[in-house]
Amino acid sequence: MSPLLGVGEEDQSNVTLVASSTSIDSLCCNSSDLKERNYMGLADCSSVDSSVVSSVSDEAKRSSLNLKATELRLGLPGSQSPERDPELCLLSSTQLDEKQLFPLHPLNDGHCSSTQKSVPSGSKRGFSDAMDGFSEGKYLAKSEVKAMLSSRSSSNLGLKSGSVLEKLGTQPANAKEPQKIIQERSRAADEPRPNNNGFANGNSSAPATKAQVVGWPPIRSFRKNSLASTSKNNEELDVKSVPGAMFIKVSMDGAPYLRKVDLKNYSAYKELSSALEKMFSCFTIGQYGSHGALGREVLSESKLKDLLHGSEYVLTYEDKDGDWMLMGDVPWEMFIDTCKRLRIMKGSDAIGLAPRAVEKCRNRN
């Protein structure tokens, strides 16, 4: 049995299923017909008179003004050579373009062999003529092209670029130079793009506004959702995962649920204790104020005793080794490095901690 090929990435195999041999034939025919089906009636159309084609290029040579209008030039955007009057240019180039595009304008319909109907007035009928032409593999007759396009105003539709198409063919070198700027394009760019706003449907917002457009930028939902939940997670995740945040759990004996605090939000024990006090407002921590920003001071023996006797609860923390320590012994920076979680212990439970703390104080002092 022949090995079955796995299908690779989406873009790799460009194969199509052909349902019947007849459609293959028509497909093959179509690809060769493409050349003839030229919208502009320019090159490769066999039944266009060669005289017509040459008249087009003659026109182009004669209309120097038009050529200049589309010539690629050096210059900054907005600067224009003195002899060109933009208004005049647009109009004349348009008029001339029409002549280039529709060289059969002055000719009679009798020249068009592909149709026997009279010149249609509306674009629809013109198209149905064209459709008959298509089904026979022929191209759009010039009269239909004229009919289709004459109904639209010619000023802003880029018809002027028809001559640019020619220019493109004759002067390919110019197109590549980075400094040369297409004057007409710059003018197009300066316009506030009325086309887009005029044509676009209500669904999409104009590029000028910052409103979010559906499906733009083109990112798949899966990726969008992943990004969204990643940023949410980062707020909740523990100390090490996100630089700048240091959330640790705080439990209080007797409280029904735990809380979390970000140690990075505080720079001293006092701040932390008052925050915890607010959070678990049913207890009083007392004075931890002796530890200032420097964090060098150590809770003195007497103060600690006051604390333990004075308040109902004691602040303790679990360090890296898993031991439960009394808060306040070590400098603040060292504390936040080693602290993994906090526990607000009942004063009675904390008795066991006090002597060690007192001893430490004695050793330091």
């Binding site: 299908v7 459609s23 298509f134 759009l140 539709l157 297409i182 457009v213 990726r223």
Partner: protein, 590 residues
Amino acid sequence: MQRMACSFPDEVLEHVFSFVQCDNDRNAISTVCKSWYKIERWSRRRVFVGNCYAISPDMVIRRFPDVRSIELKGKPHFADFNLVPDGWGGYVAPWISAMAAAYPWLEEIRLKRMVITDENLELISKSFKNFKVLVLSSCEGFSTDGLAAIAANCRSYLHCRNLRELDLRESEVEDLSGHWLKHFPDDYTSLVSLNIACLGCEVSFSALERLVGRCPNLRTLRLNRAVPLDKLANLLRRAPQLVELGTGAYSSELRPDVFSNLSGAFSGCKELKSLSGFWDVVPGYLPAVYPICCRLTTLNLSYATIQSPDLIKLVGQCQNLQRLWVLDYIEDAGLDAVAASCKDLRELRVFPSDPYGPEPNVPLTEQGLVSISEGCSKLQSVLYFCRQMSNAALMTIARNRPNMTRFRLCIIEPGTPDYLTLQPLDVGFGAIVEHCKDLQRLSLSGLLTDLVFEYIGTYAKKLEMLSVAFAGESDLGLHHVLSGCEKLRKLEIRDCPFGDKALLANAAKLETMRSLWMSSCSVTFGACKLLGQKMPRLNVEVIDERGTPDSRPESCPIDKLYIYRTVAGSRFDMPGFVWTIDEDSAMRLS
């Protein structure tokens, strides 16, 4: 001559044909003569249908009676970006029913952007005696119950069923429970590839561990985010033969024992060539993969929200990297580093970390892409999201990399001009199509006039797929593309001022393409009706959620248009917001 052609017995010809796998070549073979057509159709084992509505299942079955592998694609590409309303279509059900009856020996089903239900999955699991491969790419409509059915019926001595591949690439799965994995029988050992990265829920980890442990041929394992990092080492130790791995969430408390365990497990995977996953990365754990970086050819960090220095350290060790997907956190500096170390790079995709923010959040510009184009001589495929671009940069890229075949640039703000000259980016893209003569796929963005389409029509002779958004000025633009791009198969356009004229003038071209999508353009319903009536081999679908297009003037632009060639006629499963026009001029509703 004729006698010579028939002098080979059919079996010999069939054997010869078996060496021809490419569909285009097989199509060509089938047109030589009747007997070759007959032999070819009986021996064709693999069928690719690029548009499931271009042909009916019965037609495929009639022509190719003994198919073992089928690939179907449903919705248009823009469905990925929510431009195709729900319920549009792409149902695989009729195909599964037809094939269940006609292809009992079907082995492989690959679907892309199709709707598949749990019932369909159950039917698959029960109908095909030798079923091996199920790939559901960007599909939807099913839940973990359907997966349970696949798992439960994956193995049978009686029917020789042995599932090898279950790949759920980026599909939308309704997560009912993670227990579906337990349905794989205990004696099932033939799994080769499992991709569940898109699943949201936690799968039963013990079942996963056991499954991985008993399948010695497992080479691809893509986990979902819910699999914690501290469990990864266990899985890796059970499957050291893995070639492709997708991690789950790559975060855990930094603990030396977890780290060394993970690092050891990675080192044990000597065949690992592809890494992905990396959600919620804790940078401290990245060095665990350093030992295998030199063997990596594919690295997908596009979900890893890590900063440039960490990215540089990682990617700098991947000298054999061919494919890199990353977030724009990599910055221009990171891409410079990639250009210096990854000389074998073929494909680069840079995704935006903050696509909806008004301002750039990272220093990633066109410069990064230029560096890559200079440093990576084998670069062929690019997908790049950025916020600024210049014609000069595009020209440099084009000149550096004429071997480019896929170029997709997304400048995040629509209509952004060249930031240096404030000109449109026409000449830049023009340089791309002119220099990259083998360009097959192109996506445009930024400020663009009709000129860019002239360039494309003139130069992009091998272009097969073009995506356009917020570009162009007139119908001339569309006309250039339709009349100039000889190999064009797929054209998708949104928010461009293209109307009826170019479309109608190039109607016959549409039959040579797979499909055309136009949304928020200026095509009128009148033109659609005309096209539908005159082109019987095209389905012209008007998608409009505002109600019937007849209720608006014919000159009013329609919302969305999807035109595709078909030999199957209009489809019967259209929802209420899709209208199509038949040749009998009657407007057909669903």
